[in-house]
Symmetry: C2
DNA sequence: TTACGCTATGTAATAGTATAACATTACAGT
DNA sequence: ACTGTAATGTTATACTATTACATAGCGTAA
């Protein structure tokens, strides 16, 4: 349910935070982002949180509520996107982003039925990714 | 996806924490629970967190990841339950728990297709409840 | 009984996450 | 220049969660 208007121009801080998340191989906490940007002059959590707020609003970054962490959106910029869902591997920490119109459609339908005016949704699966299963 | 075996006997601390959540009219943070139980002798966060861990494992309490808060399960004890989903009103703070087999079924199907071994899921909707909408 | 293992508990200290408050800078439109 | 808005810098603080260690209760095997 990102607003994700036309491709936004990022400020310096936003671009740095976004870059850190794009380069990361998995989700990062705000403080992990901060540590990776100290060489670029970052010194306080708020520099990260303010950039993250914007990036999330733009739809370029997603917040993983069950991890208190953030990931770069895996979709191409501007690509229309159902509200994203995530599968988080408890073994390797890998995150798979997916968008399933049937799932989000069902949730929207539930909201409609319940007269709940929907503005956002969090869908996060936990378990083991294919690579991390032994048998 | 609670394990929720046969009705568990709660320890004193677990019963106190559960009672506080049942009496509350909405979700409570762990520290709000703590404050409500100081008269009963609670003094440290860990007393609350340890009880919450058990209650969540029993399926008697749910954690709301997007709020860092906890609610008593709205279903009767022992009642079989699909993994719960929640609609959280951003205006009044009210939470509606629901369980929709179609939604959870779709998520399980996605996991199956992706060879993701599912152990839990978080489904939280945000918006305005019917009572909080003006028009 | 005693000893052992397991669960629950008490308490203090610390780690991790997020925001409030205030000062400053940049820049567009008038 | 004046004004309004958005972004930034910085310090301090609030909120959430866990580590570490000590203690107590209880069921059971020796
Ligand atoms: Zn995305
Ligand atoms: Zn994995
Ligand atoms: Zn429930
Ligand atoms: Zn409401």
């Amino acid at each position: 349910m990102s607003v994700a208007g036309k491709a936004p121009e990022l400020t310096r801080n936003q671009a740095l935070v976004h870059g850190a998340l794009v380069r990361a191989d998995g989700p990062l906490s705000a403080y992990e982002v901060l540590d990776r940007l100290r060489e670029q002059g970052f010194k306080a959590p708020l520099q990260v949180y303010r950039a993250l707020d914007k990036l999330v609003a733009f739809g370029l970054v997603h917040r993983l509520e069950s991890l208190n962490a953030f990931v770069a959106c895996s979709h191409a910029e501007g690509e229309t996107e159902e509200p994203a869902a995530f599968a988080i591997c408890d073994s390797c920490g890998g995150v798979t982003e997916f968008a399933d119109a049937r799932i989000t459609g069902d949730l929207k339908a539930w909201a409609e039925t319940d007269r709940f005016s929907l503005t956002g949704m969090t869908i996060e699966l936990r378990g083991l990714c294919a690579a991390c299963q032994t048998g």
